[in-house]
Symmetry: C2
Subunit: 235 residues, 2 copies
Amino acid sequence: MKRGANIGGLIARAADKQGLKLEGGDVVVVTQSIVSKAEGQVIDLDKVKPDEFAKRLAKQLNKDPREIEVILHEAKEIVRLRHVLVARTHHGFVCASAGVDHSNVDHGKVTLLPRDPDASARRIRKKIEHECGIDVAVIITDTQGRAFRMGAIGTAIGISGIKPLMYLRGKRDLYGKKLRSKVIAVADALAAAGVAVIGEAGEGTPVAVIKGAMYKKGKGSVHELIRPREKDLFV
Amino acid sequence: MKRGANIGGLIARAADKQGLKLEGGDVVVVTQSIVSKAEGQVIDLDKVKPDEFAKRLAKQLNKDPREIEVILHEAKEIVRLRHVLVARTHHGFVCASAGVDHSNVDHGKVTLLPRDPDASARRIRKKIEHECGIDVAVIITDTQGRAFRMGAIGTAIGISGIKPLMYLRGKRDLYGKKLRSKVIAVADALAAAGVAVIGEAGEGTPVAVIKGAMYKKGKGSVHELIRPREKDLFV
């Protein structure tokens, strides 16, 4: 993926080539790494000069000090520091290494998360709309670890054309009982589903299309998925 | 769902009725509530006598003291206590209310998580094998909240016939670079995907079938998905 690449257009043409008919309402799941690369969110580690603090941390974490320097730059707050560095990014995401990733990019380089992932998702969506004349939902995902659970799953980091949360307050369950404040993170569930299809290391197809998913169309932001600091019991 | 119900058999027959062909390798996602009910993991709150501690906690949390009494009984450890009670269950799951749930069950009753959810999943899988002659994977899910993120998603609490984690250690990404210790929680991703299809309040169809999913067959346990206490930065 080259800097400046038109991902929305590439998706539209790739779908066409594969005989996959993109339709209105489809959910297009795109992995962070191709978006970051298209947006030039790539750092050449050879050009990074780690400071003393980064060097010290790198020793503790057994990591490349230049990568730590980049991580610290992306972090607004260090949330945990033990065998991994868990940080809150400037977007508000709490994730390992502040989203800095050395997989699926040239050796000696790392990708940063897109600066404004909702805007990235919107651009992809608009391009698909322009090229195919249909309105899809777009979810940009990052594969992130979780507290309490082993392993990582696809997580939404940028969205467009989808309400990320489904509020069940006041709805009734199968027994007609009012459900108390159940809120489903639809965008995260679809992100996990999409990444499960895309598979492990991207495998050459870092995009998934989910058809028939249940979600509400509309203007939404990934920030609705970030638990505010004061409501979070674990940061 | 009646106590003693044969869920595997019900799924096989429901699929048949709906013209859905269950095939070997399909992933059958089943929600916790029907499994708990079939296994008699239901508590009538009228028969619960809360002790003084439960009463005090209930006041603090603005909850039914009898429900708190049940939650404390299911909890091996209280992990957080503020507006919700986050507990580690006797299985090892860290979740709100120790998995005690009052949705999708008769008024005045709550469901507990299955006692041995892997065994529950195995029984369902064996029944489907018996009735349809095919080997599927079964994932029992609970809709759980997350640290850092708003909203809940489907999470695996019991599995059979699937390796829950996919280890990418040593695999190479698209650039031929060795991936460092990436571990994907496939069973959780499929649980989230399944619950996203099942939707909100069960909607009458608390089972989903996922076809064509990428996972490794084999003996696996949901305990592989539980982060050991010493490796967890957030409990």
